[in-house]
């Protein structure tokens, strides 16, 4: 028998160590230490009800356990085989106790569709993939469906592009099919550039065959025989695994001429990105594949009409493709029952930042931010207070406490002033200054703007400069108005998606954290203590004994004072390095 005690950060804070100790002590006392092992585990993802103790092999799940309950668990459950009823989880709707965690719906918040094979198969072995249904969907589509039928199935499934915009995938294919040409192309966008997002990379590293298979299906549907994967050169492992997978698929005849004897030809080549975020935009991506500067061009013409080398081209991203084989195997009706009204299926997020369980997660559309952050993510790191969650990367916005119960889908996120983006989800706590966060994203945009259109090239630069002024404590309230107008104009007039969304971090923080901006421009304060120029080091006369240690360590000579007399800091000279505070043995120096 095993007693698993949750050792996740959340539970640990509420004394799971003590629980382990107590359990062990009880077992020792009853001489059961050889039959029953107490084991500390990682987070169960249900921190709200922690600490948690799970009993194996019967899967009994105890919630909100205290050290005092240890005795009871050993005596009742371990020795007498009776469950401790009052520690069991009660279903919130039926109010009934549930003992077996396998029946706890809330517990498994995640549903893995796109990630179904990640961490399950050996990505370098096609046999393992095939054993788990890889290429069966391709076989089904080629053998049983016309391109029109297959596209209809895609439309019925309700799948929307996972790369950011959320355009219906089936519709996109339909347009590409309707444009006649001697050659068409299928392009997989694997130029994942959001800082803090790694969904696509993980899929390519963990399950490359799902992408290859989906691209072939896509090729069949729109009448393309050539596929291209535009992949970041910074992803060497993903490139290697993809190459291996393509090679194996070719050897099996699942790529190449006359696939599965159906007369359908399809093959895939790789094209490498070279570090330009804007190449996530499909026209820029296509120019980059053609060996040009990755500058976007105005749409229309859409790639579906005139794309790579001027031919009709369909571009989808990695995660979108990874969903597709399952949809054909299980049917559109299976897929469109998952998720919300307008956003079907699941979404993969790279959960990171000030959160305990940083990781790759996949949840059905409609899951709330709270569930993701507190249940799957295990809550905020170091027990700090939640402040904001940023979704959509540099194109998204910062959502706050009041958005936590919003079900995540494309439209809700946009309505809240953010967006789905590719799926980066960064959690921030009380130590993060929201003005600085906005500045951080703008710095990114300024660096990544291609420079083609003036609002993005110059406007974002000015936004960044304005934010910098505010962070330095030199902003005025008028500047906030200017920020807003400039942000709206940049959104309204920019050429491509990058510029059209780049002010979102500014607008959403202005909306949700206006008070922090006001504090910066009016009170000249940064509550998170991030903006150096707004900090003041002060010496408390009552505690200062005049040891002169601070004056000696100050690199700029900003501290004056007589030996054994109180010292003062000249704020005009101080560079806020913090050396004095570190040196002071009497806690006389504080930061404001």
């Amino acid at each position: 028998m095993h007693l698993l005690v949750c050792g996740g950060t959340g539970c640990r804070a509420s004394a799971s160590d003590a629980i382990v100790g107590k359990l062990q002590k009880e077992l020792d006392e009853k001489n059961l230490q050889d039959e029953v092992q107490v084991v500390m585990t990682g987070c169960f993802g249900f921190c709200e009800k922690g600490p948690i103790v799970k009993v194996l092999p019967d899967n009994t799940f105890y919630v909100q356990v205290t050290p005092d309950n240890a005795k009871e668990i050993i005596e009742e459950h371990v020795i007498k085989g009776r469950k401790v009823e009052h520690l069991l989880y009660k279903d919130p709707t039926t109010k009934k106790e549930i003992s077996d965690s396998k029946h706890m719906g809330f517990y498994k918040k995640q549903l893995r569709i796109a990630l179904r094979n990640c961490g399950v198969i050996n990505p370098e072995n096609i046999d393992e993939a095939i054993a788990r249904d890889a290429y069966s969907a391709l076989a089904k589509v080629l053998g049983e469906m016309t391109p029109e039928q297959a596209i209809q199935e895609m439309i019925d499934s309700g799948l929307r592009g996972r790369g950011g915009g959320g355009f219906p995938t089936g519709l996109k294919w339909k347009i590409a099919l309707s444009n006649k040409a001697d050659q068409k192309y299928v392009v997989c966008n694997a130029d994942e550039g959001d800082p803090g997002a790694f969904m696509d990379r993980s899929i390519l590293e963990g399950d490359p065959h799902s992408v290859i298979e989906a691209m072939a299906i896509n090729g069949y549907c729109i009448g393309a025989t050539k596929g291209l994967v535009y992949i970041r050169a910074e992803y060497p492992l993903a490139i290697e695994r993809l190459k291996t997978a393509i090679k194996q698929a070719r050897e099996y005849g699942l790529l190449g001429k006359n696939i599965l004897g159906t007369g359908f030809d399809f093959d895939i080549e790789l094209r490498y990105g070279a570090g330009a975020f804007v190449c996530g935009e499909e026209t820029a991506l296509i120019h980059s594949m053609e060996g040009e500067r990755g500058e976007p061009t105005f749409k229309p013409p859409f790639p579906a009409e005139s794309g790579y080398l001027g031919k009709p081209t369909n571009v989808n991203n990695v995660e979108t493709y990874a969903n597709i084989p399952v949809i054909y195997l299980k049917g559109a009706n299976w897929f469109n029952k998952i998720g919300t009204d307008k956003s079907k299926g699941t979404k993969v997020f790279a959960l990171a930042g000030k959160i305990n369980n940083v990781g790759l997660i996949e949840v059905p559309m409609g899951t709330t931010l709270r569930e993701v952050i507190y249940e799957i993510g295990g809550g905020i790191k170091d027990g700090k207070k939640f402040k904001a969650v940023q979704t959509g990367g540099p194109s998204g916005g910062c959502l706050t406490e009041k958005h936590l119960d919003t079900p995540i889908d494309y439209d809700n996120l946009i309505a809240s002033g953010s967006m789905m983006g590719s799926g980066g989800m960064i959690v921030m706590d009380e130590d993060d200054c929201m003005v600085s966060i906005a500045r951080f994203y703008l710095e990114f945009t300024v660096e990544e703007s291609c420079g083609k259109c003036s609002p993005c090239r110059i406007g974002n630069k000015r936004l960044h400069e304005q934010l910098d002024v505010i962070c330095k404590g030199k902003g005025t309230k008028d500047d906030l108005e200017k920020l807003k107008n400039l942000s709206l104009v940049i959104k309204d007039t920019s050429l491509c998606g990058l510029g059209q969304t780049s002010p979102n971090p500014v607008l959403s923080t202005l909306d949700n954290f206006y008070h922090e901006y006001i504090e910066h421009v009016h009170d000249k304060k940064c509550r998170a203590g991030v903006c150096k120029d707004l900090m003041k080091y002060l010496i408390d006369n009552e505690h200062c004994v005049g040891c002169t240690a601070c004056a000696r360590v100050c690199p700029v000579g900003a501290i004056a004072g007589e030996r054994k007399g109180p010292h003062t800091i000249d704020q005009t000279i101080c560079i806020k390095c913090g050396a004095c505070m570190e040196k002071c043995k009497f806690n006389a120096i504080s930061v404001q």
Binding site: G42, G45, L111, R112, I130, N357
Partner: protein, 134 residues
Amino acid sequence: MVQVKSLADLQNLKASLQNKLELREKGEKADSLVQIKVAMATCGIASGAKKIMEYFMNELEKRSIGAVVTQTGCMGYCYAEPTVEVKLPNQEPVVFGYVDLKKVDEIIEKYIKNGELVNGIIPVNYETIDDNNK
């Protein structure tokens, strides 16, 4: 080299591969064969998964334990890399996080040899499409 030339070929291949995998899982040597998967995506490798995998292979051989050690993609527990999934014959797989060489020793000695769980288990917190189907 297998060439999959028709739909029937693919179905046959799939069936035989599934058998093979099942054999590997539940076959004749079911009593002795342990399956170990090491998460080898970028984050795993960055935290030293390669060394863990090699160590597993060497140590299991040294200690004469019949096992299959394979690599796999990201399991999603980036915070707890390197992560390793161990499946004892006829048992549910168990995932261990924050695995270092010392932990490997512990896993081999306690869990693989004696079925005793050790600290650092990561509870699986997701459903796959296979579960969802039911």
